[in-house]
Protein backbone atom coordinates (compact mmCIF):
# COMPACT_ATOMS: atom_id res chain seq x y z
CA UNK A 1 0.00 0.00 0.00
CA UNK A 2 1.10 3.52 -0.61
CA UNK A 3 -0.39 6.97 -0.89
CA UNK A 4 0.92 10.22 -2.36
CA UNK A 5 -0.64 13.58 -1.81
CA UNK A 6 0.37 16.96 -3.24
CA UNK A 7 -1.42 19.78 -1.49
CA UNK A 8 -1.36 23.53 -0.96
CA UNK A 9 -2.93 23.29 2.52
CA UNK A 10 -0.80 22.83 5.64
CA UNK A 11 -0.05 19.19 6.44
CA UNK A 12 -2.24 17.80 9.20
CA UNK A 13 0.47 15.52 10.55
CA UNK A 14 -1.53 14.38 13.52
CA UNK A 15 -4.54 13.20 11.54
CA UNK A 16 -2.33 11.63 8.88
CA UNK A 17 -0.22 9.79 11.45
CA UNK A 18 -3.27 8.58 13.37
CA UNK A 19 -4.95 7.26 10.24
CA UNK A 20 -1.69 5.65 9.08
CA UNK A 21 -1.24 3.88 12.39
CA UNK A 22 -4.82 2.65 12.29
CA UNK A 23 -4.20 1.08 8.88
CA UNK A 24 -1.15 -0.93 9.91
CA UNK A 25 -2.11 -1.70 13.50
CA UNK A 26 -1.55 -5.25 14.59
CA UNK A 27 0.75 -6.03 11.67
CA UNK A 28 3.30 -3.32 12.09
CA UNK A 29 6.05 -3.40 14.59
CA UNK A 30 7.60 -0.14 13.42
CA UNK A 31 6.48 3.24 12.12
CA UNK A 32 9.08 5.82 11.13
CA UNK A 33 8.10 9.35 10.22
CA UNK A 34 10.08 12.16 8.66
CA UNK A 35 8.93 15.78 8.73
CA UNK A 36 10.78 18.38 6.76
CA UNK A 37 10.27 21.81 8.28
CA UNK A 38 10.91 25.17 6.66
CA UNK A 39 13.79 26.68 8.62
CA UNK A 40 13.49 30.29 9.60
CA UNK A 41 17.07 30.97 8.60
CA UNK A 42 19.08 29.61 5.71
CA UNK A 43 22.74 30.58 6.03
CA UNK A 44 21.91 33.54 8.28
CA UNK A 45 19.33 34.99 5.94
CA UNK A 46 15.76 35.08 7.23
CA UNK A 47 13.29 33.08 5.15
CA UNK A 48 9.78 34.48 5.15
CA UNK A 49 8.26 31.84 2.93
CA UNK A 50 9.10 29.11 0.50
CA UNK A 51 7.39 28.83 -2.84
CA UNK A 52 7.20 25.36 -4.34
CA UNK A 53 6.37 25.04 -7.99
CA UNK A 54 5.16 21.69 -9.29
CA UNK A 55 4.21 20.05 -12.58
CA UNK A 56 0.77 18.53 -12.03
CA UNK A 57 0.65 14.77 -12.64
CA UNK A 58 4.38 14.53 -13.29
CA UNK A 59 5.18 15.53 -9.69
CA UNK A 60 2.87 12.83 -8.32
CA UNK A 61 4.25 10.28 -10.78
CA UNK A 62 7.80 11.06 -9.76
CA UNK A 63 6.94 10.46 -6.10
CA UNK A 64 5.13 7.21 -6.88
CA UNK A 65 8.22 5.99 -8.71
CA UNK A 66 10.36 6.61 -5.63
CA UNK A 67 7.90 4.82 -3.37
CA UNK A 68 7.63 1.88 -5.77
CA UNK A 69 11.40 1.48 -5.69
CA UNK A 70 11.32 1.49 -1.88
CA UNK A 71 8.65 -1.23 -1.88
CA UNK A 72 10.79 -3.30 -4.25
CA UNK A 73 13.85 -2.95 -2.03
CA UNK A 74 12.24 -3.57 1.35
CA UNK A 75 9.35 -5.46 2.91
CA UNK A 76 7.00 -2.62 3.83
CA UNK A 77 3.44 -2.56 5.08
CA UNK A 78 2.50 0.96 4.05
CA UNK A 79 3.99 4.25 2.92
CA UNK A 80 2.60 7.77 2.75
CA UNK A 81 4.17 10.88 1.25
CA UNK A 82 2.55 14.27 1.56
CA UNK A 83 4.27 17.16 -0.17
CA UNK A 84 3.16 20.74 -0.01
CA UNK A 85 3.32 23.03 -3.02
CA UNK A 86 2.65 26.75 -3.42
CA UNK A 87 3.50 29.16 -0.63
CA UNK A 88 4.72 27.68 2.64
CA UNK A 89 5.52 29.75 5.71
CA UNK A 90 8.66 29.17 7.71
CA UNK A 91 8.13 26.73 10.62
CA UNK A 92 5.56 24.80 8.60
CA UNK A 93 6.07 21.26 7.37
CA UNK A 94 6.95 21.06 3.71
CA UNK A 95 7.00 17.28 3.43
CA UNK A 96 6.03 14.28 5.52
CA UNK A 97 7.05 10.68 4.89
CA UNK A 98 5.52 7.82 6.88
CA UNK A 99 6.70 4.24 6.57
CA UNK A 100 5.29 1.22 8.36
CA UNK A 101 7.03 -2.15 8.43
CA UNK A 102 7.14 -5.25 10.54
CA UNK A 103 10.70 -4.50 11.52
CA UNK A 104 12.48 -1.25 12.25
CA UNK A 105 15.47 -1.67 9.93
CA UNK A 106 13.23 -1.72 6.86
CA UNK A 107 11.14 1.22 8.08
CA UNK A 108 14.21 3.40 8.72
CA UNK A 109 15.96 2.52 5.47
CA UNK A 110 12.87 3.05 3.33
CA UNK A 111 11.96 6.36 4.98
CA UNK A 112 15.47 7.74 4.50
CA UNK A 113 15.62 6.38 0.93
CA UNK A 114 12.34 8.09 0.08
CA UNK A 115 13.31 11.49 1.43
CA UNK A 116 16.76 11.25 -0.18
CA UNK A 117 15.14 10.69 -3.58
CA UNK A 118 12.42 13.27 -2.93
CA UNK A 119 15.34 15.73 -2.87
CA UNK A 120 16.81 14.64 -6.20
CA UNK A 121 14.04 12.99 -8.21
CA UNK A 122 10.80 14.75 -7.39
CA UNK A 123 9.62 17.21 -9.98
CA UNK A 124 9.51 20.33 -7.80
CA UNK A 125 11.29 23.65 -7.69
CA UNK A 126 11.89 25.64 -4.55
CA UNK A 127 12.18 29.37 -4.21
CA UNK A 128 13.10 31.21 -1.03
CA UNK A 129 11.26 34.41 -0.33
CA UNK A 130 13.08 36.98 1.80
CA UNK A 131 11.74 40.34 2.92
CA UNK A 132 13.77 42.00 0.16
CA UNK A 133 13.48 39.57 -2.72
CA UNK A 134 13.50 35.94 -3.68
CA UNK A 135 15.81 33.34 -5.16
CA UNK A 136 15.44 29.88 -6.66
CA UNK A 137 17.21 27.23 -4.64
CA UNK A 138 19.98 25.37 -6.43
CA UNK A 139 20.15 21.61 -6.18
CA UNK A 140 22.86 20.37 -3.84
CA UNK A 141 25.73 18.08 -4.68
CA UNK A 142 25.38 16.56 -1.23
CA UNK A 143 21.81 15.55 -2.04
CA UNK A 144 22.93 13.83 -5.24
CA UNK A 145 25.67 12.04 -3.34
CA UNK A 146 23.13 10.79 -0.82
CA UNK A 147 20.87 9.44 -3.55
CA UNK A 148 23.79 7.76 -5.31
CA UNK A 149 24.88 5.89 -2.20
CA UNK A 150 21.68 3.78 -2.38
CA UNK A 151 22.69 2.31 -5.75
Amino acid sequence: MSLVRIQTEPIAFIEEWTEFLRRIEGKGGAVVSFSGIVREFNQDSKVEELYLEHYPEMTEQSIHQIIDKAHEKWELLDTLVIHRVGLIKSREQIVVVLVGAEHRAEAFSACEFIIDFLKTDTILWKKEIHHDGSSWIESLDTDYQRSKHWE
Binding site: E53, Y55, I115, W125, I137, E138, S139
Partner: protein, 88 residues
Amino acid sequence: MSSTEGLVKVLFFGAIREAVGVGEVAVEIPADRSLRTAVAMVMQEYGVKLTQYHRESYVVALNKQICKNDALLEANDEIAIFPPVTGG
Protein backbone atom coordinates in the same frame (compact mmCIF):
# COMPACT_ATOMS: atom_id res chain seq x y z
CA MET B 1 8.44 16.57 -44.42
CA SER B 2 7.19 20.03 -43.61
CA SER B 3 6.24 22.03 -40.59
CA THR B 4 2.61 21.17 -41.20
CA GLU B 5 3.00 18.12 -39.02
CA GLY B 6 1.38 20.02 -36.19
CA LEU B 7 2.03 21.75 -32.93
CA VAL B 8 3.51 20.64 -29.67
CA LYS B 9 3.08 22.30 -26.31
CA VAL B 10 6.20 23.46 -24.45
CA LEU B 11 6.01 24.09 -20.71
CA PHE B 12 8.61 25.90 -18.60
CA PHE B 13 9.05 25.62 -14.86
CA GLY B 14 10.95 27.26 -12.05
CA ALA B 15 13.83 29.59 -12.84
CA ILE B 16 13.55 28.77 -16.54
CA ARG B 17 9.88 29.79 -16.57
CA GLU B 18 10.85 33.07 -14.93
CA ALA B 19 13.71 33.64 -17.39
CA VAL B 20 11.49 32.86 -20.37
CA GLY B 21 8.71 35.00 -18.98
CA VAL B 22 5.87 32.60 -19.82
CA GLY B 23 4.85 29.17 -18.57
CA GLU B 24 3.69 27.68 -21.83
CA VAL B 25 4.14 28.16 -25.58
CA ALA B 26 3.02 26.24 -28.66
CA VAL B 27 5.64 25.48 -31.32
CA GLU B 28 5.59 23.72 -34.63
CA ILE B 29 7.19 20.30 -34.88
CA PRO B 30 10.56 20.78 -36.64
CA ALA B 31 11.27 19.15 -39.98
CA ASP B 32 13.37 16.35 -38.47
CA ARG B 33 10.67 15.73 -35.86
CA SER B 34 13.35 15.46 -33.20
CA LEU B 35 12.87 16.57 -29.64
CA ARG B 36 16.47 17.83 -29.61
CA THR B 37 15.85 20.24 -32.49
CA ALA B 38 12.59 21.47 -31.00
CA VAL B 39 14.18 22.16 -27.63
CA ALA B 40 17.18 23.90 -29.21
CA MET B 41 14.87 26.14 -31.25
CA VAL B 42 12.79 27.01 -28.23
CA MET B 43 15.78 27.77 -26.05
CA GLN B 44 17.27 29.98 -28.74
CA GLU B 45 14.01 31.81 -29.37
CA TYR B 46 13.40 32.53 -25.72
CA GLY B 47 16.96 33.49 -25.07
CA VAL B 48 17.40 31.52 -21.91
CA LYS B 49 20.98 31.62 -20.83
CA LEU B 50 21.59 27.98 -20.10
CA THR B 51 24.96 28.69 -18.57
CA GLN B 52 23.26 30.32 -15.63
CA TYR B 53 21.99 26.93 -14.50
CA HIS B 54 23.75 24.63 -12.19
CA ARG B 55 24.84 21.14 -13.13
CA GLU B 56 23.15 19.62 -16.19
CA SER B 57 21.69 23.03 -16.91
CA TYR B 58 18.21 21.85 -17.79
CA VAL B 59 16.06 18.76 -17.93
CA VAL B 60 13.65 17.84 -20.70
CA ALA B 61 10.50 15.79 -20.26
CA LEU B 62 8.29 14.52 -23.04
CA ASN B 63 4.69 13.74 -22.12
CA LYS B 64 5.59 13.90 -18.45
CA GLN B 65 8.49 11.44 -18.71
CA ILE B 66 12.13 12.48 -18.37
CA CYS B 67 13.61 11.42 -21.70
CA LYS B 68 16.58 11.40 -24.05
CA ASN B 69 16.82 14.14 -26.61
CA ASP B 70 16.61 11.71 -29.53
CA ALA B 71 12.89 11.04 -29.12
CA LEU B 72 10.63 11.83 -32.08
CA LEU B 73 7.72 14.20 -31.69
CA GLU B 74 4.09 13.74 -32.61
CA ALA B 75 1.40 16.39 -32.80
CA ASN B 76 0.04 17.50 -29.44
CA ASP B 77 3.00 16.13 -27.53
CA GLU B 78 3.84 17.98 -24.34
CA ILE B 79 7.45 19.02 -23.85
CA ALA B 80 8.63 20.41 -20.52
CA ILE B 81 11.92 22.21 -19.95
CA PHE B 82 13.01 22.82 -16.39
CA PRO B 83 16.00 23.32 -14.10
CA PRO B 84 17.34 20.50 -11.91
CA VAL B 85 14.70 19.73 -9.32
CA THR B 86 14.82 20.84 -5.67
CA GLY B 87 11.98 19.07 -3.87
CA GLY B 88 11.80 17.38 -0.49
